[in-house]
Structures are given as structure tokens and as C-alpha cells.
Symmetry: D2
Subunit: 357 residues, 4 copies
């Protein structure tokens, strides 16, 4: 069950980086949804490699094919299977790691867990798998449009360069630059830093912030499946993620309750909160205010430098990145964060249908 996510809007992904194809089955998409194939492609294009000088130069068109579940452009309620063929496989690039464990990759743990692994390009542990999530997430976004839910992620930090607070940003400008930071000044600095890191044959970490507007009140389940707990799991399941915080997050620790509490008021018939340190979620359930959260990404593990390691037999080896890799993962992570957020919300919209008799 490790390869499925969701309860009612459930996705199951498959595929390795250098196998014939990757893909996803969406089980539970309600019937009657118009499926916009151009939108799916545009979302995949936001994630695909080779977009700009600060992303990997690996070329994958990431064109997809829908095999089932859609008839005459409309979802039928049956599983929607989407396949993306792997085109630019270049397996030869990876022969050097067939036996060696790359530092801070999943090579060692997969080998230990399974006794066998497809080492080509990281196999199943490759971030290539996230293309399948983006495809599924794009359909979740189509569903959420019916509720006017708006999900906007952007790069808020690269290394120690931080963007202003989201309330001071125009999130419609995220796609205006290659680093996907809506503040152009910050974006420029981020791009310079990433470019320098790339020239240093190194990598750097960053933060993706996500803001969700117009969430219906009442999404999320008490106790274990809290809305923010599922968002957290979904984000922590993305490759290279090391942390998740929502609302006041780690900074909220130093506040007092009298500073942190969000007082309610009546806003022309709607119950609203004066402040929003809760991040739009109270007791695990959405309250209608903006949901916002931060996702921390570590520096990419593949660097173009020699590193000490061992091989399968425990013998010392030297490994170094080859081929084409991202110096910083966050620009391409933006659509992945949005996709996973869309999947979480869609699932909770469907689950909420059974809250009351």
C-alpha cells in the first residue's frame, strides 16, 4: 500500500526513472468532470526537466496518455489511468552506481530493504515519479475549481535568501520568473545564488510556501486525519523534504496564547477570525480562512564532486554525480506541492459529504 495516497480520491503511482514508463491510476474521481487535457500538460510542463538554466538539462517531454476513465472528454467514475513514457533514458549514465551507494540517496536503504533494486537513475526513488502525482493533481485541481478553491505555491526561500511574507506578495506573478518567486527582486537574488551553486558543482536547499484560498469550512477529520496532518504527510512524501509547518509553525513556539489566539468576529454574517495564526485549520478542520504552510527541501543529494562511499560489499568507493541534475529542487517542486495539496483537499471534500445525515 505504499504507493497509494488518498481514501476516496485515491491515486496509485507506478514506474521507475528508467523503465518503460511511469504513471498513475486515479480511483474515485466522481463522474461528470470535464477533463482538460491541455491543463494536465501545462502542469506537467511546469515540473518537467530542462525548463531553464537553473534546472537539470535532462530532456523529457513528459507527454501523457489517458488509457481509461474518460469518455468523450468527461470522467465516467471509473479509474483514470495516465501513462507517461520515459523517453530519454540514457541508462549508460548510471552504470557507475550499479554497485555503489550514493551519499544521502536511497540506494543503500532500498538495497537493504529489498535485496534488489533498479539502480538506474534512482529507479523508484527518483523524483521522476512525481510527474505522475502532478498529472493526478491536475485532475484534482479541475475538481476543486467547482468549489473555487485556489492553490498557489511559490519559492519563498533559497539558501538564506527569503521572500517577504505571503501577505505582501502578488501570487499571480509566481510564473513570471524561472525560480518561481513572485517577488522579482528576491527572485533575481535566488537565481544568482542557484547559478553560483551550480558553477560550484554543488546544490542548495530551499522552501516552498503554499497558500490555499476559498477552502470550504469543515474539511479535515478529527484526531489522526487532521487536515494539516494529511497535508504534512503529503508534503513529507515529496522527495528531499525535511520539514513542514503550517500557520504560525515553529515561530509560534515563542508566542503567548494571548498573542497567538485568533479571535472570532461576525463579518456580515460569516464567522471569521481577526488574525490567522491558526493557518486556516482549527482542531484539524478548515475554518474558511487562508490555509498556508511551508515545506523545507534539503539540498539535492547529487553533487558534481567526489564523495566517499561504499559499495554493496562494503568496499570503499568514490562517487561523483554525472549527467544532468538540478542544483536546487524548489523551482520544479512548486507544481508538485500544489498537486499534493490539491489531492489532499479533494479527498477531504469527498469525505466531508458523509459528515452529517
Amino acid at each position: 500500500m505504499s504507493n497509494s495516497y488518498g481514501t476516496l480520491f485515491k491515486i496509485s503511482t507506478f514506474g521507475e526513472s528508467h523503465g518503460p514508463a511511469i504513471g498513475v491510476i486515479i480511483d474515485g474521481c466522481p463522474a461528470g468532470l470535464t477533463i482538460d487535457e491541455a491543463f494536465i500538460q501545462s502542469e506537467l510542463d511546469r515540473r518537467k526537466p530542462g525548463q531553464s538554466k537553473i534546472t537539470t538539462q535532462r530532456k523529457e517531454d513528459d507527454t501523457f496518455k489517458i488509457l481509461s476513465g474518460v469518455f468523450e472528454g468527461v470522467s465516467t467514475g471509473t479509474p483514470i489511468a495516465i501513462v507517461i513514457e520515459n523517453q530519454d533514458q540514457r541508462s549508460k549514465d548510471y552504470s557507475h552506481i550499479a554497485e555503489a551507494f550514493r551519499p544521502s540517496h536511497a540506494d543503500y536503504t532500498y538495497q537493504a530493504k529489498y535485496g534488489v533494486r533498479d539502480y538506474r537513475g534512482g529507479g523508484r526513488s527518483s523524483a521522476r515519479e512525481t510527474a505522475a502525482r502532478v498529472a493526478a493533481g491536475s485532475i484534482a485541481k479541475m475538481f476543486l475549481r467547482k468549489y473555487s478553491v485556489d492553490i498557489s505555491a511559490y519559492v519563498s526561500q533559497v539558501g538564506d535568501i527569503k521572500a517577504p511574507h505571503f501577505s505582501k506578495l502578488d501570487l499571480s506573478k509566481t510564473e513570471d520568473n524561472i525560480v518561481r518567486c513572485p517577488d522579482s527582486d528576491t527572485a533575481e537574488k535566488m537565481i544568482s545564488l542557484i547559478d553560483q551553486v551550480r558553477l560550484d558543482r554543488d546544490t542548495i536547499g530551499g522552501v516552498v510556501t503554499c497558500v490555499i484560498k476559498n477552502t470550504p469550512v469543515g474539511l479535515g477529520e478529527p484526531v489522526f486525519d487532521k487536515l494539516h496532518a494529511e497535508l504534512g504527510k503529503a508534503m513529507l512524501g515529496i522527495n528531499a523534504v525535511k520539514g513542514f509547518e503550517y500557520g504560525s509553525g515553529f515561530e509560534g513556539i515563542t508566542l503567548r496564547g494571548s498573542q497567538h489566539n485568533d479571535e472570532f468576529y461576525n463579518d456580515g454574517g460569516n464567522i471569521r477570525t481577526k488574525t490567522n495564526l491558526s493557518g486556516g485549520v482549527q482542531g484539524g478542520i478548515s475554518n474558511g480562512e487562508d490555509i498556508y504552510f511551508n515545506v523545507a527541501f534539503k539540498p539535492v543529494a547529487t553533487i558534481m564532486q567526489d564523495q566517499d562511499s561504499v559499495d554493496k560489499n562494503g568496499n570503499p568507493v568514490t562517487v561523483s554525480g554525472k549527467g544532468r541534475h538540478d542544483p536546487c529542487v524548489v523551482p520544479r517542486a512548486v507544481p508538485i506541492v500544489e498537486a499534493m495539496a490539491a489531492l489532499v483537499l479533494t479527498d477531504f471534500v469527498l469525505r466531508a459529504k458523509s459528515s452529517k445525515v
Copy 2:
């Protein structure tokens, strides 16, 4: 399904703060485990209210009764049901919030989601429910002893007072003081701060850090059910939690890959890493190094001060905490964090049994 956690070692909790009882069913506990009832009680005692001057003075003995699944002191493989009766209900304390929504509590969202709620003491959203998790977690700990897994949580921050890094602490000293910080100097400062906050009729946030030693290699599932993703979900499901990070966490953002990567070496036949910024998890799977993570708790929402709010009909009201509440939740959260970590690891130990033919 919102009230269950786990796939093979699955717990389902029930109960409201002021109903007749709370409890838990553990489904999937393997047969043949000796059940140490004294240990269950000792874990519940670490969580129970009224332990010290810095916790709520509410009195609950939290004595439990096993209704099933244990025969002659040994688990039988059938569901273990544990019930804890609610003794000190004092429902009258809560009449003032029957109609009003307390700021930053779950009152409003439950009302909106369900159209009805047991308002007494927060009902299902009360942290009282976590006693059931601690009881279940204590059985998970018994199971993990067979694998020598050692889970130690402690308070690493209260407000802006931080303990030294865990590598400099003697985690066996956590229970030596009432705030559960193993560094006595820091503990003293934390206690003073909490006491001051209490006198101010206010509350304060904090951090619980958890360190897990001797984890078997190979726990965790790729893609969605990564070990750290499940730990994150489990922690974010605890009341008042706002953030989770593991390994280098949010601080890792500013590092470069060449600084962050954990190189492998052969330690007398065992493959180890020289550093451990990965936090014991690579590609979502344990690598045998120490797992460590931080859990951020917001200041408790109930404060002994007047706050603006609205009632069910949207009319303005003033609410203020009454009765007995914690000025800071982290000391009592320590056993809850450990319990949830134990549940996550136990589930993955069982799941790992099917990794290979």
C-alpha cells in the same frame, strides 16, 4: 476512518472528554506478547493531569481496564480493547461555552462540520483523547523492545529557552524534573518561564524532540508512506502541533549538498554514515542511524483572560478560560510523542515482513 491509525498495527480511539469513558482498540497486535500492565499505567501516569505545579490541576487517575485480547497475561492476536473511565467530569465548568466558540479551539469547526457537538471540555477535540494513544503506544513499546528499539522524547524548547543539541544530553535524565528537559539548567529556566506565564494567566509554546536509537534498517515504504512522512502525520495529529522537521530540518535549507550529504563508511562490517543530517532516514526508509525529529507545539488556546468571540448565532460574546488548564503543553506531550512514534515504528516493523519473498 478518521479515528484509526496504522495499517497492520492499527489503533482506533473513541471517547469524549466528559463522556463516560475514552478508550482504544488495538487490532493487529501479534500474539505471544507479554503485556505488562504496570508499564501501561506508568506511561499513562506520565501523561495524566495534576502531576506538578506547571500542569493543569485537574485530577484524573487515568486507570485503565483491558477488556479483550489478552489471556493469562499474553496477547492472543485478537483486538486489545482498553477503556479509561472519565472520573472528574465537572460538566458544570463548561456550561459557559455551550453556545460560544473559544478562540483557536475546535468549537467552531466542529459545529460547522457536524451541526452538533459535545461542547463539554472540548468533547472529542480534547487532548484527553491522547491518553488512549499513550495506552496503545505503551503496548507498541513492549513490542519494540524485542528489537531493542529505544524511543526517547524530551522538551527541547519552551518559549525562547532552548536546550543544547541532543547529542550533548543524557536522555536518561528526562524524567528527573517536572518539565522533562534532561539538561537541569535549562529545565530550571523553563520551569520559571512556565510558572511566570501561568501567573500571567497566559500560555506558552514549545518543542518536543524525539530520538530513536537502534531502529532496524529497512523500515518505511517508498513514495507516500515514507517513514518520516508517517512520523510527521502522527505528530501533526497531536493536539496543538504546528510543525514537524526531522534530521537537518528547516536549518538544512541553507546548507549546500557538499555539507549536507552523509558519506557512507564501513564500520567493521556495518554500513554506517559519517554524519547524520539525514536523521536516520533515506528515501523514506531507515538506514540504522539515529532517527531524530522536532515537534512544534503552539501555546495552549485556553487562557485565563477575556477574549472576543461570537456564539453559534454569530452574536458577539466574551469568553475566558475557567477551571484547570495547562500553561504549557509540552511536558505532558513527551509521552504522547513517544507513543505515536512507537506506533509508527511498530506498524513499519510488521509491514517490512513482506518486503522480500
Copy 3:
């Protein structure tokens, strides 16, 4: 996961025949349902032992207590926990089987699977566990009333004595006699047969037929979770059941398609079928016609006669039923069949809410 049933309206039962209590958690009951405690008791009374001369004389009041999930008589959307204490335990009756395996009971398989078992009264494998299902099913029935769904089970066969086809019966008369067959002539013969079997210190099998009227169109999921497949699983999960058939069932084998097909017609605006060999289910989904199915129960395994067997060490032993047992299980199985049917339908009503956008 073996002790839970359902996806959205999910029950988890616990308890052994001679432990302190049995019970059930219902997770997913929508909020706002009025809970009729008298009805729960009346359903439990239909199942309880000691009702008549043809059932076991064991006395259990089967009084229940709701521990959570209901506030001021209404479901709150949180888990409903129901506990039934075991009163008449008489563990001494079972000392003789502590080591021996009773023929056609679960003693041997439990011992082999778990290495340990609560042998008292069959422990977890006792049909006493079904009281928990009946309690949960009674709440499902309350939910289904909102959809006017009517579930009626009755005894249609005991040994070789068969009742007329259900279309010729007045199902409101099922409770008029102790064998729960709505045809009084047949009932009399059945009672005589069971009484004779009892005097012979033996047992006999039978069939429970269930008819469900007013099912909404569209319940059930294609492929694996077909409506009749879930009904089948639910029925086969009842103790002593050996077979399940719906609609034309095993008799339909000999028909030709031209005889078996149910032609559609327009009944004043409603699409109906002229015949109903489909049993109200087509392609796994309800079509609005009556659902009907048969459940075959084997003769109770406990007989008051000496039988050859072996003990835990493989040594030959003679075992014989002691105490108080049912000569025929079907009269008491009627409310259990109804309860499981109610749980299946309720779950599908909730699942159907996500069929369309």
C-alpha cells in the same frame, strides 16, 4: 485489520466470549442521527440466548452501554463505542477443552495461527461476538430509515423443511413464532424438527433468506466491491455460514439467458424490470428492485455426543459438548443477517455520495 468491516461506516468489534466484555466502535456514523437506545436493545434481544426452548438456555441479558459518540441522544460524528459486559461466564464449563480441539470448531486453527488462544467458550471465535455486530447494525438500520430501506430476514429452511418462496410470505409475521419463519405451518414443522434434534443431542443446519425493499438505485461499486460481493462477504463472515446466493443463485445455472434476463419497462416514469432474477443488483449496482439472497448455515459444531479428536500435543482424546448450546443456529441468526445487511447498505449509501461531481 481483520476485526473491522466497512469503509465509510466502519465497525470494529472486540471481545471474547468469556472475557470482561465485548463491544464495537462505529467510526463514520454521520452526525445528527437520533439514536434510539430502546431499538438497539430490542435488536440485541432478538439475538440473545435463552429466548425459547429451541435456543441455548445460556442466560445473557446483553445489556449495552454507549461510551461515546452520542450527545443528548444524537450522534455527533465521532466514534460510537458500545460495550456489552459478559455476565454469565461460567468458565468452569470450558476447562475440558483447554487442551483439546473440538471438531469443526476454530480451536485447532487458532492454536496453529497464534500459538496461544483463549479457549473459554471459543474465545474470539464464539458467536457471542455477533452481538456487537447486531448493536452496530441497529444504528445502521436507524440511518437507513431515512431512505425508507426495509430489511427483512427470516428462516426459510431447517434441515429439509423449506418455507414457500418469499413472494408468497407476509414478512411482517417473522417474529410471530420462535423459529422466525413467517409461514406458521412451516414454522411448526421446523420447531418440531429442531426439538427432535435437540433430544437426539444433535444439531441441524438451515437457511436464512433476506429481502431488502426500497433500496436506492445506484448502490454498490463496480468490479471488486460489487453490492452483492460485499453482501456475500458480510454473510460469509457470520459464524457457521457455508454459502451465499442472490437472485436466481445456484438455480439460475440451469436457465437459459432468454429465460433469465430481466426485461426493462417504463412504470409510470420509473424504469423497472418485469422479472427480478437479477435480485435487484445488475453489474454490482442496485437497480431499485427487491434485493434478496440466501445464507446457508451448517449444523452447529457443538453436539452433546462423544467425538474423537486430538489435543494440543496430538494425543487422541474424546470430546463432548457440555453446557448450553443451540441445536440450530438459524432462528438467532436472523437479526445478525439483517444487521450485516444494514451495515453493507449504509456503507454503500455513504460511498454513493461521491459517485458524481
Copy 4:
């Protein structure tokens, strides 16, 4: 969730009869299993149309492609995706039913449930989907070989022609004739009957019996997920199935307990039963004896005769089968029954790994 089956060895199928492809993801196949592609093909060939004069003449090669989860011929523990393209689509054959509801098909219920449907060849409700199950089941069979489990299904009844009891048959002869009945005399009669039915432009029902030898003791879970309950659900999920019985089944009703009970004896150190009316399952758990069960199939709904029906608007129409259909489904159902049985057993083998500490 309607399109997945299994808990630890979990399959998710997708695809419509006349879409681009059908397929399946297997999630949870343990790593290290040698994948025999020729065997997968041979199983698909047993199910494919066009095998003989008594099956549909529709031509589908049913060639498959593995997209993931297998590396150098061995399973890697990651999802195994298998795709089978639809070659012989002939959508034009189905234009006549775009608006009309075929009697005893899923046309009406799908339309009512989803508001939209892919009407071509029955779309998702087509038995074509079972090819995906057979592919997955063939991998389950490879896994079960390691436990020497042997699953043999055969046709035991067509119309009113019955084969002798399975204990009198040589099950290795099932594939010797086109009807898949191991008794050649019976087979001949069955073939004649089916041929006659076909000439009558009609269809006929039948029974598939399945015998499973060498099942390990201890498979199956108590209460809801009993071994026979899962087998029942799996079989009832196959298209056109109306009934399931195991062991003594419906005939066991008329027996007395003293006739029905299976006494234990010590067979050279192994605990065995003298008789096997239990059908190899006691208390829902395998006891090591042969498991056997019957699956009832109704006559195929598509007949080459005019039938009354209605269209989407409720207007009366006449429909008649066109194209190429099976006069009797049971010969091709044999590998499907085996596949589902293999999936059930494999899942329980994996689940049993957690029974004891």
C-alpha cells in the same frame, strides 16, 4: 476504492472494453520473485476470446507489457504495472446500445449511478476487465509456488449436466478439452449442450469448482476477513456470478452435526481431519485440508434474440445481441476463478506473517 482488491498484495485494475487499454497495478509484491512472462501469457491465453467454437469469436491477442516493478526478470518490491492494449475494438458494433439499456446488463445501473457511461462493449462492466485480474493472478501463482500451493479450477456443471465429485476427477486433465471439465464424458455432453444453445441464439449458466491443495495452516483472519469470506467476495466480484459455497455448502444444511463434524486425528505427527466437510477452513482459518468451493454463473445476458427494453429516456425499444458473444461463460471463467483464488491466498500468506511476535 472500488477498483482495488487485497490488503498487502493489492491489485488495482483499470480500463474499459473499448478504450485504448486495460491493465493492473500490483502493489505489495515482495521483492526477489522471478517473474515468468511466458507463464503470464499462457494464463492470459486461457482466458482470451476466440479459443474454440464454444467461446466468442472476438479476436484479442491479449498481449501484455510490464511497465514497472520488474528489473532483470525479478520483482523489485515496487509496483508492477501491466498493460494490455485493446486491439479489436470495433466500436461500431455498439452504436445500437448507446441509448438503450440491455436487459440484465449493467447499462441502466451505471447510467443511474454515474449519469454518464462508456457504452461501448459494456465499458468498465465488460468481462474484458478480468484479463487484468488474470495477469495479476498469474504473479500471485508464482509467489504461491514457493509454498507449493496448488490451485485447480474446472467446469463442474453446465446447465443441468454435472461432473462427478472432485475427489473422483483427475484435475490435471482440465485443459484436455475446450469446456475445461476433467471428465471427458461429461465434457462431451457439456460441449454439445453449449453448441446447441449457441445455435438457439441463446446462452446457459454453469458452475466452476475450485480445489486448492497444500494450503499452509493458519491463513485467514477471524471475524470479518475469514478466508472463505474473502474467497466469496473475490468470486462474487467476477462478472455473472450469482452464488458461492465452500465445503458442504448449501447441501450441508440438511445434515446433522454428528454427520457434518470433521473429527481430528494424528497423521504421523500432523493433525488432520478424517472428513473434510469444512472445506479446509475452520473459524475462517485454513486447517491444511483441501479447500474447495463452487461458483455459480448465470447465463450470459447477451443473447441473439429480440428483447423488450427502454432507452435512457424511458422509451420502449427492442434490443438484440450483435457481434460475437459467449454462449456460456464458464470455460473462460476457469482461469479467472483461479486468479482470484491465488490473489486471496497470497494476500493471506503475507498477512499471516504478522500473526505472532
